[in-house]
């Protein structure tokens, strides 16, 4: 019976995508449109376009830049966020300023940072970090500020101060909020990764796709778009997987609250 259950679930997952793919395949099969080649052609070109060499030369640098920028954003965002969130006066003073910076559409940072940092790797990493830091920072501030009062009193009464308080109370309590910020930051990071490369780069996924588009290598362009989509999906799944494990306690807690 369990096998039947698993099959059913697998079926549900695959059903609609399979149908859509089939529809796409057949409706584009006889396509002579320049911009929308048949799906069969796109898939066929996929393997020859994205060889291991190309993956290493173009996709890997993109991912590494994303990882570096994201990591910087997390470190800076959480550290500053804890600081700002814990001190009432600092928070009140900085809040409007931070909200203003957060409201600036991240891609706008690209031309600005290009002024300072040129067009090399540094620029892209800085751009990604500069765009990703805001949701992380602001969510950390909010998470730290909203530390439960009873929990805080309990911690204080048991002599939990300083770094121990940070480690055992403040950060864990804020972690669901921080995780939400990190998720938003991830989408922003991917967008900035692509855009910074479309603007000025010599390698990278975004750069390659734009090259295809400029040289009218349409099927290849489509494969690039597909790859980018797959990448976005894969990173999202990875994030969710890690988050589920790290915040297992939080999900358990929410579930217990919901069912009561």
């Amino acid at each position: 019976m369990r096998a039947a259950g698993v099959l059913k679930r697998a079926g549900l997952v695959v059903a609609l995508p399979a149908v859509l793919l089939v529809v796409w395949w057949f409706s584009s099969a006889g396509s002579t449109s320049f911009y929308a080649p048949p799906l069969s052609k796109i898939l066929g070109t996929f393997a020859e376009t994205w060889t291991v060499e190309r993956l290493r030369a173009d996709v890997l640098p993109s991912l590494l830049r994303l990882a570096a920028g994201y990591a910087v954003a997390v470190l800076v965002g959480v550290a500053l966020g804890v600081l700002v969130g814990s001190i009432r006066t600092v928070r009140a003073t900085l809040e409007p300023v931070l909200e203003f910076f957060r409201a600036i559409p991240p891609p706008v940072l690209v031309p600005i940072i290009m002024l300072f940092a040129g067009i090399e790797n540094t620029m892209k990493i800085v751009v990604i970090a500069a765009g990703c830091v805001w949701p992380i920072l602001l969510n950390t501030v909010e998470g730290v500020r909203a530390t439960d009062e009873v929990l805080s009193d309990t911690a204080r009464s048991y002599g939990l101060t300083g770094p121990a308080r940070l480690r055992h109370l403040v950060l864990p309590a804020a972690s669901p909020q921080i995780a939400a910020g990190m998720r938003q930051a991830l989408s922003i990071g991917i967008i900035l990764m692509v855009i910074s490369e479309m603007f000025a780069a010599s390698n990278g996924l975004g750069f390659t796709i734009v090259q295809f588009q400029r040289t009218f290598a349409i099927p290849q362009m489509w494969t690039g778009i597909l790859l980018l989509g797959l990448l976005g999906f894969a990173l999202s799944v990875l994030f969710r997987f890690v988050e589920m494990r790290a915040l297992a306690w939080y999900h358990g807690l929410r579930q217990a609250q919901r069912s009561s």
């Binding site: 439960d148 009062e149 009873v150 929990l151 009193d153 309990t154 204080r156 009464s157 048991y158 002599g159 939990l160 121990a164 055992h168 109370l169 864990p172 972690s175 306690w249 939080y250 358990g252 807690l253 217990a256 609250q257």
Partner: protein, 265 residues
């Protein structure tokens, strides 16, 4: 052991100042189990927080073993009413109980021992690896009590700890407190709004007036040391004491102040 002198707390509101606690003076000796009762809004929680060092009083003093309390002192443990919010949800039961001990820099072996003992003492010997939110309300409060007990405090402060549990669980927990008190000899200050509970548990009951609060009366409970839910509550003396406390609280609510009393224990 615990000495409160002239405690006064004024809250600075936007429009006006609110004098929550006017003058609280009393002493609790080593090994006492004292209950604090009063009409709602009489500042019981304020008092408890001042005593625990979580809230600075406007004037007056709290002394623990002769030393003034300016911040949470190491010799005190607090059990709050909201058990769901006082246990760390990201830690297992064992880790929750162990955390204050790690702060006290107790060696790992000794910590383990204390944790095991405390959890066994509250009847939760086999929930070590569970998470607080997986347990029922009564069990969660037991964990909070175990945490306080493992900490080996001089004084245990309890702020209406059983107000949020169902009646049956409350009865069990009340008995648990008396057990622990008798076994471990820890000094307990138990704040409650439940008159029956106060009389059942305490050796002494401090009745508070309404806000601005003073000690309305200090009542000695001369019930036998071994108490149980069924028989003790049926005793005529229990009913008498209970009635007296009730009258005093009603008087307090009507605004009748006690005759000027200075530091009557």
């Amino acid at each position: 052991m615990l000495d409160v002198q002239g405690l006064r707390k004024v809250y600075d509101g936007r429009q006006r100042q609110v004098e929550a606690v006017r003058d609280l003076t009393f002493t609790i000796d080593d090994g006492d189990l004292v209950c604090l009762v009063g009409p709602s809004g009489c500042g019981k929680t304020t008092l408890l927080k001042c005593m625990a060092g979580l809230l600075p009083p406007t004037s007056g003093e709290v002394r623990l073993r002769g030393r003034p309390v300016t911040g949470p002192p190491p010799g005190m443990a607090v059990v709050f009413q909201e058990y769901g919010r006082s246990l760390f949800p990201w830690m297992s039961v064992r880790d929750n109980v162990e955390l204050p001990l790690r702060q006290k820099r107790i060696a790992r072996g000794k910590r383990r021992e204390l944790v095991d003992e405390a959890l066994a003492a509250v009847g939760l010997a086999d929930t070590h690896n569970a998470y607080p939110w997986q347990l029922s309300g009564g069990m969660q409060q037991r964990v909070a009590i175990a945490r306080a007990v493992a900490y080996q405090p001089d004084v245990l402060l309890m702020d209406e700890p059983f107000a949020a549990v169902d009646a049956q669980t409350r009865a069990d927990l009340e008995d648990l407190i008396r057990q622990l008190w008798q076994r471990l000899g820890v000094t307990i200050l138990f704040v409650t709004h439940d008159i029956d509970e106060a009389v059942y548990l305490g050796q002494r009951v401090l009745i508070l007036s309404s806000s601005p609060t003073v000690v309305q009366e200090s009542l000695r409970i001369d019930l036998p040391d071994t108490r149980d839910q069924l028989h003790t509550r049926a005793e005529p003396r229990f009913t008498q004491l209970r009635g007296h406390v009730y009258e005093q609280i009603q008087a307090a609510k009507r605004g009748q102040r006690p005759p000027a009393q200075a530091g009557r224990p």
